[in-house]
């Protein structure tokens, strides 16, 4: 099975990440473990949301940071393969689902669209997903602080 090809925007963001992390120290950790951390921190996000908004926004920021780091670490130290891509995409969807299950409308609907887009991406070999958590972080910062 081949890895779905990224769109223009996806390629642009990947090049951007590569440029940013070029001179940055990155620990040689298994990128799958970093992806797993993003799911675990998504659970922490919903746990802390009712207690501290600032802390939960910081946790969401960490979730996105882990998502960013797993790709960067994989590119630098490991050969990028379909397995890493599947893990990354699945962790992203599960993380989105956990976060949006408590906010629900319209986020859970968008998450459902994203899931179907992910499956469509594998069928059509074109990586198209909505960066929902990034949009959600801006939404949280704007409306909850």
């Amino acid at each position: 099975m081949d890895k779905p090809e990224r769109t223009f925007l996806g390629k642009f963001s990947q090049n951007f990440i590569q440029k940013i992390t070029k001179n940055l120290y990155l620990p040689k950790i298994n990128p799958n473990k970093i992806s797993a951390l993003s799911v675990i921190f998504s659970i922490l996000f919903i746990i802390f949301f009712n207690y501290s908004r600032i802390l939960s926004i910081f946790i969401l920021f960490l979730v996105l940071l882990f998502d960013f780091l797993d790709g960067a670490v994989a590119k630098r130290y490991y050969k990028e393969g379909i397995e890493g891509y599947i893990i990354d995409v699945t962790c992203d969807r599960i993380s989105e689902g956990i976060i949006f299950s408590i906010f629900f409308f319209p986020w859970f609907f968008l998450f459902s669209i994203n899931l179907w887009l992910t499956i469509w991406s594998f069928y059509n070999k074109k990586h198209i997903v909505i960066p929902l958590r990034h949009i959600f972080l801006f939404y949280l910062i704007t409306f909850f602080i």
């Binding site: 099975m1 919903i46 599960i94 689902g97």
Partner: protein, 150 residues
């Protein structure tokens, strides 16, 4: 992860997030274990000693993978127009926590039936996963009793 642990984790997280898990206990039991029903055809088909059966990737149908999650999410979105928001939040959280635990600690086939590729995150060795499972089940069972009777 075992079915009891799926229930315990869902119950405790829902108790922390919504503070009223006790009132929804039947719903939590049902939806945190619902996905595991797809093990039944595997159990019927494989004629081995029940204690020697391994619930690996083959024991799961597409309902345990991304396609199943997509179908569940679509059903939940449709139900949004018919049942209360709190119920849907609890249902979706139970299902998603089940998926996340299985994906984090087990061997899955996320793209099944599109691809049969087995995936393991390899967070820790299998022996440690079993140990963690037993420990977590015991700790969360105590926590559950505290929340339920406390």
């Amino acid at each position: 992860m075992n079915t009891l642990l799926h229930f315990l984790i869902s119950f405790i997280i829902i108790e922390i997030v919504f503070g009223d898990a006790k009132s929804y206990i039947l719903l939590i039991i049902l939806f945190s274990m619902l996905v595991d029903l797809d093990h039944i055809p595997y159990l019927i088909n494989v004629k081995k000693n029940v204690f020697k059966r391994k619930f690996g990737a083959e024991s799961r149908s597409f309902l345990h993978e991304l396609l199943g999650l997509s179908i569940f999410s679509l059903i939940i979105c449709i139900l949004f127009f018919f049942i209360s928001l709190r119920l849907l939040q609890i249902i979706s959280l139970c299902i998603l926590l089940h998926f996340s635990l299985d994906f984090l600690f087990g061997i899955t086939r996320p793209l099944y039936p599109i691809s049969n590729k087995k995936i393991s995150l390899g967070i820790m060795k299998r022996e440690f996963v079993y140990l963690l499972e037993i420990l977590l089940t015991l700790i969360l069972l105590i926590l559950f009793l505290v929340f339920f009777y406390g």
